[in-house]
Amino acid sequence: MHGYSAFSILRNGLTGQRHWRRAWRSPDPKSAYDVVIVGGGGHGLATAFYLAENHGVRNVAVLEKGYIGGGNVGRNTTIVRSNYRLDGNTQFYEFSMKLWEGLSRALNFNVMFSQRGFLLIANSPGELDTFGYRANVMKLNGIDAELLDREEVRRMVPYLNFSEKALYPVHGALLQGRAGTARHDAVAWGYARAADAYGVDIIQGCEVTGFVRQGERIVGVETTRGRIGAGKVGLAVAGHTSVLAQKAGLELPIESHILQAFVTEPIKPLVHHVVAYGADHFYVSQSDKGGLVFGGGLDGYNSYAQRGNLGVVREVAEASIAMMPCISRLRILRHWGGVMDMTPDGSPIICPTPIDGLYLNGGWCYGGFKATPASGWCFAHMLAKGEVHPLTAAYRLDRFRTGRTIDEAGAGPFTWLQ
């Protein structure tokens, strides 16, 4: 790989930026690959990278119908944390966190992973109890966690609403210091560039229109750029998993929903941490460019439209002022929606499917971004070895049939309430 470093910056700065090469090639598809990954988002690209890096599987294509990183990896609120309480989630997200911590160097691409800390504000005594439970699980699984009281929270984030009259007073908070944010686009690009350097073909503008079967087995895909043979096909198209799965005749417990995100105009540093409101769906961080990035709950009806409605916009604005009264005069610069694969328990699905040759990575609900490295790592393991990685053993498709669901919110089985 053509290395990125302070030296390369210096050299190019002195020579008119002429020596930079393409971050990834733009190859024509070959007639067949060992592995074809459908979906050039964070998870698909990460999978390709780890297939090559960890397993030496390099005859790999990533097929993207639009441009890489155009789905949810490029339209999320960039938060990375590993504060999950249920067995199956806790270890998986912590493994992901560990990969995040070395990701920029592993990819030679600065993904700007910044561990500024994630504060989950408890707004009632009962909530603080549940955070205590979560914190205990984290500690017992080797994950950093701190439970803060009201005064400790005030010292860290004095701009929150500490009024005695607040409807949802600050009772304390769960802090994960190692959590933070990353530059979302850079994750897609960094994986793409590193995978490309191993010879993975990243093919943009190539939409999968069907699957090629030989008997019961899937042996390739039909695309807008022709038929492409595949030893194995991995789906990593969260948001649109149902659409692709239907082409393969696979029925899933997934529905697509809109989650909106918001960014304000850039301002000088105000919010250092990631702060989430326990009482309501609201979380905020400040990007390195200066915009406050925040998000809320789902719009709440099935949708593939990548745009939301004004009701949630207003709810989020209300929650933001309830939590941070000083935010009122700042202005929202842009709001957009991403299409989420929502499952009935709010947890993802990474597993072989009942169809031979077809493997599924989807159902990310709104936890997909932080999971990107571990998801790619474990999915690559599955595609390379044909067996489930122990860290994703719980993310089976049949768990809804068996009852081994992983419902952090306890909101099942309605996808839009997760």
Partner: protein
């Protein structure tokens, strides 16, 4: 630069004082902050994002990339406002941004020296070492340097409001097309709302001189519209977003003439306009030109120079170069010349399309054809431009460069529904795509049109839009306007709204926007050259190509032509990649002036046509919207519509500490019971166990279930049976979700053969109600049952404790409340004097207890009667903390145990159900995992380590087991038990370990504690239930 003595739409009789960076200045009513600054000779107004280059005012509207200011102080501090849209007000305090220590001497201007290294995306390539956390070190400085203005940290003292509007026809934009549409739709009888972001109506017409025909047309139209009661004209109102159902989000700014709103007035108002049809007449935005140092103060859009001249009576330059690739800028040139400026036109085309040379000659305006600006000279203000012409280079001194690179229709709002704009090759611009039914477009937003054409189109759109809504009265012909302020060319095309730029082929040959003049892209820099060289190169075309200095595409984000070329070179070719990699279009202006150029440059670099490259998605809002406006009145206490019980005031008056739960305010504990919650709840528990306590339970969900099939219905929705419940008896019931997980619990009392009274938990009341209705409407419409929520109709309170019956008897002396008349689980429904009482003997605490229901308006009266009658018996109120503790002692489950993951069997309740079938959730309750021996089930835990206490959320392990992982379960609820003088808890513990008598370790590493406890029955107190019977 000066204010003219006459002309313009400012009111010279109303001077307004304001300050900029502490300097006192005066403007007039009718000014924007930008026009007032220009009138006061201010050219330098800000510093750029990355390189901190000096910046002036580019535009006269919301597309402004440069002139960002901070207004106000303290809680009213508001950063990043475009001076071009701020209506000047008396007392306005403005300051420049992103500079230190001052605007003129900005220390970070030094960034310019490092510019060669700060190319697009440089940060992706470095700052990765030496350690893993190194990025956080660098990031600290990057974050400090980033951002524009500084936000205030105090709460906003101003008020915002929300209004809901309805219209047949919503019209966006008040230019010739919008006004004409409004008149037509108004005459057709439609209810019309016309929306204008400016504080004056007229759109482009406002840039014509006051004594022009178009000004006369405008005032005539406004007079006619003002007389139409079905037309409302909204100024200072921005349509920021279009949402499903033709709902337009509008923000209206106050126009009180002072910087801050008047007392009681909303600063801004969010308007939700639900329109049957929409007419987009949003006009077009002029594009700047791209050349070296095209960001210098004094370089302005030609249309803006004309607006400042004609609308605000500010002559923004005396020696003017008008650089253009289209006809429209000639109007600015001619008006500036008429006002006394010395004007040179540098037209990139071989020949103007119309017979403009002659008109120019008559006005003393020099026209140079095939002439491109290669470079702008001057640092804090432009001094001269060097022109690249076929005959060689020329330098022209000037103090204003008015530029026009054609026009981009304002398609933003039309795209919010997901309709992508389409490219019109003939005029080289994007216009709205095919809009859905009921949406119409008119005027410049559709591309190059004359004013007369815009009026004609607006008229047609107005007629069509009203017809769509069923308003079809006869409409007169449109009021025509033939512009004569400039002689029309032989082809009779007036100039005013011609959007036609030079043909694309010409651009590619060497005009603005072609890769050929992107400075320094195709050649390494020679040693000794600096990026700010003030030289004019030799007279060859090469000289123009190599003009030194940055050529900005996105002026606000400091994205240059080089950055675009670099993005292309590195493969970030998709427009979305280009945008995200270079940050192009990500500024507060959302790339309004830069997007088109970037697209065409990328198309050029890739050798593709513009439409093949595509556009980025236009996202709402069109211009930034204050969060406060979106929240409206839903702030502070009004954040959520909280609910108060009929006894609320009593609680507050009697020392209750209230706690929100499910949007109800409930007494948490009473300060009369103890200093803090821990002291108080124990005292309140003791009181209930020893004498009696009164609790407000009005927040429980209450559902009236009636009908011939009511018993059958309840038999299906509850896991345990209700069909055989006798009249006059209550029963505890538990509901499952369809997936077999416990949904909610409560009690239901049979009031009559066909009449039941159900209670639910406070938290799940709405969900249960809705679910019952769902089942009746969608699954079992054949059941003759009606369900009605009566939560608010009944006040409810529970008197619990050994003395409760005596208290009840004392409060209602005529009622027979003996154990025979009102046994445990019995009902007494009586008219007692003027009150209808429903008394159900139910206990949550394990004590003898009665739930007393009465009409909400009598709740407080009954409460007080009980308190009074109970005083001799030691009755005091207790709160939810004590209630929660009492039920733990009694082993009753509640929210922490019914957590959306537990089954009946997990909670030890499967015996209640027995072998029943046909209830909701029954089949999926049989899923295999639910009988897994590792699955936790409800246990009691009793701490036996003296001086230690159990904590909620502790993780359970076997003794000597290593404390890691997820353990065997957890503590869900915990309390100190005064009756046992021990810490007791409810927990969920793996079945295989849930053996009564076994020792268990409860680990709370978060507080550094591990406590030993014994597994016991979850019913800590009175397992036979003797206290509540009898």
């Amino acid at each position: 630069m000066r204010r003219l003595a006459i002309g313009g739409r400012i009111d010279r009789s109303q001077p307004m004082e304001f300050t900029f960076d502490g300097r006192a200045m005066t403007g007039f009513r009718g000014d924007t902050l930008a026009s007032a600054l220009l009138a006061n000779g201010v050219r330098l107004v800000g510093r750029s994002f990355k390189y901190h280059r000096p910046r002036g005012i580019l535009s006269a509207g919301p597309e402004e990339p440069n002139a960002l200011v901070t207004l106000g102080t303290g809680g009213r501090r508001e950063p990043n406002l475009t001076a071009t849209t701020v209506e000047l007000a008396d007392g306005l305090v403005a300051e420049s941004q992103n500079r230190w220590p001052s605007l003129k001497f900005d220390a970070q201007g030094i960034n310019g020296l490092f510019a060669p290294f700060l190319s697009a995306g440089f940060y992706y390539k470095t700052f990765m070492g030496p350690t893993r956390r190194a990025w956080m070190f660098y990031e600290h400085f990057i974050r400090k340097a980033a951002g524009f203005g500084r936000a205030g940290e105090e709460p906003d003292p101003d008020r915002y409001d929300v209004r809901h509007l309805f219209a047949d026809v919503a019209i966006v934009g008040s230019g010739p097309a919008g006004l004409s549409a409004a008149l037509a739709a108004g005459e057709a009888g439609a209810r019309v709302v016309l929306i204008e972001q400016d504080f004056a109506l007229g759109g482009t017409l406002l840039s014509d001189p006051q004594d022009s025909e178009s000004a006369a047309w405008l005032s005539g139209m406004l007079a006619r519209l003002a007389g139409m009661p079905n037309v409302s004209l909204m100024t200072r109102t921005t349509a920021f977003g279009a949402y499903d159902g033709n709902v337009l989000g509008l923000v209206e700014r106050h126009g009180s003439g002072t910087a801050d709103p008047k007392e009681g007035q909303a600063r801004q108002m969010l308007l939700l306009l639900r329109a049957k049809s929409i007419v987009y007449a949003s006009g077009a935005l002029e594009r700047p030109l791209t050349f070296a140092n095209n960001d210098r103060p004094g370089i302005m859009l030609a249309s803006a120079a004309r607006i400042y001249l004609n609308r605000f009576a500010v002559l923004t330059g005396t020696r003017v170069v008008v650089a253009t690739d289209n006809d429209s800028a000639y109007r600015a040139a001619f008006d500036l010349a008429t006002a006394g400026a010395e004007v040179t036109i540098a037209d990139s085309r071989a020949e103007p399309i119309h017979d403009l040379r002659e008109q120019a000659r008559r006005r003393g305006v020099a026209v140079r054809t095939n002439s491109l600006i290669a470079n702008a000279l001057g640092r804090r203000a432009v001094r001269a431009v060097s022109l690249s012409e076929p005959g060689g280079a020329a330098t022209v001194r000037c103090d204003l460069v008015a530029v026009s690179g054609g026009w981009s229709p304002t398609v933003h709002l039309t795209s919010h529904f997901g309709v992508k704009p389409v490219y019109r090759e003939d005029i080289q611009t994007f216009v709205p795509g095919k809009l859905g039914a009921g949406r119409f477009v008119a005027g410049a937003v559709m591309g190059g049109l004359t004013t007369a054409g815009a009026i004609e189109q607006g008229h047609r759109a107005g007629v069509d839009a009203s017809a769509f809504c069923g308003a079809a009265k006869a409409v007169q012909q449109p009021v025509r306007l033939e512009l004569t302020e400039i002689d029309a060319g032989p082809d009779d095309s007036p100039l005013g709204t011609s959007l036609r730029p030079a043909p694309l082929a010409q651009l590619v040959r060497g005009g603005y926007g072609s890769p050929a003049i992107l400075p320094e892209l195709h050649r390494p820099r020679r040693s000794g050259e600096t990026s700010h060289a003030k030289r004019t190169r030799g007279g060859d075309e090469e000289g123009a190509k190599l003009a030194a200095g940055k050529a900005f595409v996105d002026i606000q984000m400091d994205v240059t032509t080089q950055d675009i070329a670099l993005a292309h070179r590195e493969g970030y070719e998709s427009v979305e990649h280009l945008k995200r990699y270079t940050t192009l279009g990500m500024g507060t202006d959302q790339g309004k002036t830069s997007n088109f150029y970037a697209l065409s440059a990328m198309a050029g670099l890739r050798g593709m046509a513009v439409p093949e490259v595509g556009t980025t998605t236009f996202r709402p809002p069109y211009t930034p919207v204050a969060i406060g406006a979106l929240a409206g009145r839903s702030i502070g206490h009004h954040y959520k519509p909280i609910r108060r019980t009929p006894m609320h005031d009593w609680h507050v008056a009697n020392g209750a500490q209230m706690l929100e739960g499910g949007l109800w305010m409930r007494p948490w504990f009473y300060r009369t019971s103890g200093r803090d919650v821990n002291e108080a709840y124990v005292a309140e528990m003791r009181m209930v166990r020893e004498t009696a306590g009164l609790m407000d339970i009005s927040t429980l969900g209450k559902i009236d279930v009636q009908g011939p099939d009511a018993a059958e219905f309840l038999d299906r929705v509850y896991a345990n049976g209700f069909a055989r419940l006798p009249v006059g008896r209550a029963r505890y019931g538990i509901m499952l979700r369809d997936d077999g997980i416990v949904f909610d619990d409560g009690t239901t009392t049979r009031l009559g053969e066909r009449h039941f009274f159900m209670t639910t938990s406070t938290a799940k009341a709405a969900d249960v109600m809705s679910r019952l209705e769902f089942l009746l409407d969608t699954a079992w419409p054949d059941l003759r049952v009606s369900v009605t929520s009566v939560t608010y109709e009944w006040a409810a309170m529970s008197v619990a404790g050994p003395n409760s019956r005596d208290i009840l008897a004392a409060a209602f002396p005529d009622l027979d409340v003996s154990n025979e008349a009102l046994p445990h689980m019995g009902l007494l429904e009586e008219q007692y004097r003027d009150m209808h009482l429903r008394i159900i003997r139910l206990s949550f605490s394990g004590e003898r207890a009665y739930e007393i229901y009465v009409g909400a308006s009598l709740g407080n009266e009954v409460w007080c009667r009980l308190m009074e009658a109970g005083a001799p018996f030691g009755l005091k109120p207790y709160g939810v903390e004590a209630l929660g503790a009492l039920r733990v002692e009694k082993g009753h489950i509640a929210g922490p145990e019914i957590d959306g993951r537990t089954t009946l069997d997990d909670l030890g309740l499967s015996r209640m159900v027995g072998k029943r079938s046909g209830y909701v959730g029954e089949v999926l309750e049989r899923r295999e995992a639910f009988s897994d021996p590792a699955r936790p089930r409800l246990v009691g835990l009793r701490c036996f380590e003296p001086g230690k206490q159990l904590h909620a959320g502790a993780i359970l392990f076997r003794p000597n087991e290593s404390l890691q992982g997820h353990g065997l379960g957890r503590i869900t609820s915990v309390t100190y038990s005064p009756a046992l003088d021990a810490w007791v808890a409810l927990g969920l513990l793996a079945r295989e370990a849930a053996v009564e008598g076994a020792e268990i370790v409860a680990a709370s590493p978060i507080i550094g504690q591990a406590v030993r406890a014994r597994v016991v029955s979850p019913i800590f107190l009175d397992p036979k239930g003797e206290r509540l019977r009898g």
